[in-house]
């Protein structure tokens, strides 16, 4: 058979360079079209608002003295702490579900630029969690502060409000990015979620067994920089005077998430899909 003398096919669809904006639109469609997003984010709102206001209500009814230079805003911490599980799950799934389903091959075929894929996923996921968290924490802060006065609580100030809403939302969304990076590195949903839960709980469990004097410094470090403790310090300045306080926790989490995302990018670039 002779080689046919056919010129290449030219499509009527206009050719233009695909950009990060295209990747963002694509990732937004992906994340909003899955039920797991609705479930995890729905439960997250429920926990932050429900648990946060119920605990404040109970404390207000009991009328006990809280002390510890806490404000009414601090009652939200328990709901946020529980909601972290949802954020971790969604963060891991955002990347690992692509590997578990085989979608990653389609994704990378459509966008061979690994950096752009990871950036688009991270930005869309971060903004989604941050915005929903900001709304939830603001609502629960308003309810909590309206519900209880007295109880030995300190008066709320502007910077305290900023930390309890904007700061906490940043912290949780950054923690979600860490989960997304771990999901990229481990590529297996169950494994990555387990790793994230271990990262959250193990430091406190390990610290409980470090009774020897020589381990005191390490024990303190593990306790002060564990994920739940850092969340508490955003609400309430610790009395010990050491460890992270105020915005420190957000900065630490930002640094950890950045390093993890860097590792995820390197893995995504070098590994076969």
């Amino acid at each position: 058979m002779t080689a046919p003398s056919v010129s290449n096919y030219v499509s009527p669809i206009p050719v233009r360079r695909a950009t990060l904006a295209d990747a963002l639109a694509s990732e937004w469609t992906k994340i909003r079209s899955l039920r797991s997003t609705m479930w995890t984010m729905g439960i997250m709102v429920l926990l932050v608002f429900g648990v946060g206001s119920l605990i404040a209500m109970a404390a207000g009814a009991a009328g006990d003295d809280v002390g510890n230079n806490a404000s009414a805003l601090g009652f939200a911490v328990f709901g946020v702490l529980l909601s972290i599980i949802c954020v971790i799950t969604l963060g891991v799934l955002t990347m690992s579900s692509e590997y578990n389903t085989g979608m990653i091959r389609t994704t990378l075929t459509a966008c061979p630029n690994r950096g752009r894929v990871l950036a688009a996923k991270a930005i869309v996921f971060f903004l989604l969690v941050f915005v929903i968290m900001l709304v939830s924490t603001t609502l629960v802060a308003m309810v909590d502060t309206a519900m209880i006065r007295g109880n030995g609580l300190v008066e709320t100030t502007g910077p305290m409000w900023l930390k309890a809403t904007f700061g906490v939302s940043l912290y949780v969304a950054l923690l979600g990015l860490l989960a997304l990076a771990v999901g990229t590195l481990i590529r297996h949903s169950a494994g990555a979620i387990a790793a994230m839960l271990g990262l959250m709980l193990l430091p406190m469990i390990m610290a409980a067994f470090m009774v020897a004097d020589s381990l005191t410094d390490l024990r303190e470090f593990l306790l002060e920089y564990s994920i739940p403790t850092m969340l508490f310090t955003i609400y309430v300045t610790p009395s010990s005077g050491s460890g992270p306080e105020g915005w420190d926790a957000v900065f630490v989490m930002a640094g950890v998430a950045a390093v993890a995302l860097g590792g995820a990018y390197a893995a995504l670039r070098s590994r076969d899909a």
Binding site: I13, A18, T101, L108
Partner: protein, 327 residues
């Protein structure tokens, strides 16, 4: 146009693809044939830059896949029916692909219509049959209206109507001047669709030839003879200048002359014949012989006594023959 240059992939100490060099041209359907585990999918993944080659390169119209600015408008690929998230509807699956390459939203409805999935567009692909998943994958490949199309085992899971549809689709796409590259492990399927063949076995290029040439070479006819006077038959044949090959079961195979001439020859020498039958090797058989030594996963059957019917002197020689031609 896709150019593979010395493409090699090594997993540990196992060579999955070994120095593959060939060119896939536009305007025709190129069949990519090989037994299971021959390295077809690995090769296709390297063409799409999903796996990075240990050595060698793939050029798509002169560029690396990673350099393509709008890949879906250049290459459309069906890798496997499962390369999608089952929780997403067919429409959303295609929409997110379209958006990633700035393809107009209207194209999604168009390709859904082309593959016949409009009715289930809002259904989650988790509930799709293998054939429907395959169609959705094909829709994804067609989304960017690309000039190059790659299909990995596209007929898997399709019903006869679907198989007929995909055959015509591939032919039409090629007629429009596109490059169509389709893998399969079925020779019979390729015989109906492909104009050109690239055959690999255990990562090696075994053949790079046009379909017509492959048929001409492999549907060669030969004659099988059987006689109680075996030795005398061989003498008579060699006396007449024919090359005869004795097969394991005592028959003699002669390549070239027609059965009638051999019958007359035997009559002249008053030779009793128990069999005189013209034979024709099927393409499937030719493919099996070509790849026999490179099949990775053999099913172990009882030891076969005697040679399977086929043209004489075909062992090994064929593959080596084409390998030179292809490289």
């Amino acid at each position: 146009m896709i150019e593979l240059q010395g493409l090699t992939k090594r997993y540990g100490d196992k060579l999955a693809v070994d120095g593959l060099t060939c060119t896939v041209r536009p305007g025709i359907v190129t069949g990519f044939l090989g037994p299971n585990g021959a390295g077809k999918s690995t090769t296709m993944r390297m063409m799409l830059d999903l796996d990075s080659p240990t050595a060698g390169t793939v050029l798509i119209d002169g560029r690396h896949y990673r350099q393509l600015k709008d890949p879906l408008k250049v290459v459309g690929a069906l890798l496997d029916a499962k390369a999608m998230h089952g929780g997403r509807s067919a429409y959303n699956h295609l929409l997110c692909l379209a958006q990633s390459n700035g393809i107009p939203r209207a194209r999604v409805a168009e390709v859904l219509d082309t593959v016949g999935l409009t009715a289930v567009a809002k259904k989650r692909s988790k509930g799709f049959s293998l054939g429907m998943g395959q169609r959705l994958g094909i829709a994804g490949a067609l989304l960017g209206d690309p000039q190059i199309l790659m299909f990995d085992e596209p007929v898997n899971g399709l019903d006869p109507e679907g198989i007929h549809w995909i055959r015509n689709l591939m032919k039409n796409l090629a007629t429009q001047g596109r490059t169509v590259f389709v893998s399969s492990h079925l020779m019979s399927e390729m015989a109906l669709t492909a104009d050109h063949l690239v055959v690999i076995g255990q990562g090696h290029l075994l053949a790079d030839t046009s379909m017509a040439e492959f048929i001409a070479q492999n549907s060669r006819s030969y004659v099988r003879l059987r006689s109680p006077e075996h030795e005398r038959l061989l003498d008579v044949l060699s006396g007449a200048g024919f090359t005869a090959v004795t097969t394991g079961d005592g028959a003699v195979e002669v390549d070239g002359p027609e059965a009638a001439r051999l019958g007359e020859l035997a009559a002249r020498h008053q030779l009793v014949l128990h069999e005189l039958s013209p034979q024709r090797a099927s393409l499937e058989e030719a493919f099996m012989r070509l790849t026999a030594e490179s099949v990775e996963y053999h099913a172990h059957s009882a030891p076969v006594t005697g040679e399977p019917s086929g043209p004489p002197g075909a062992k090994g020689g064929w593959g080596a023959d084409w390998q030179k031609k292809g490289s």
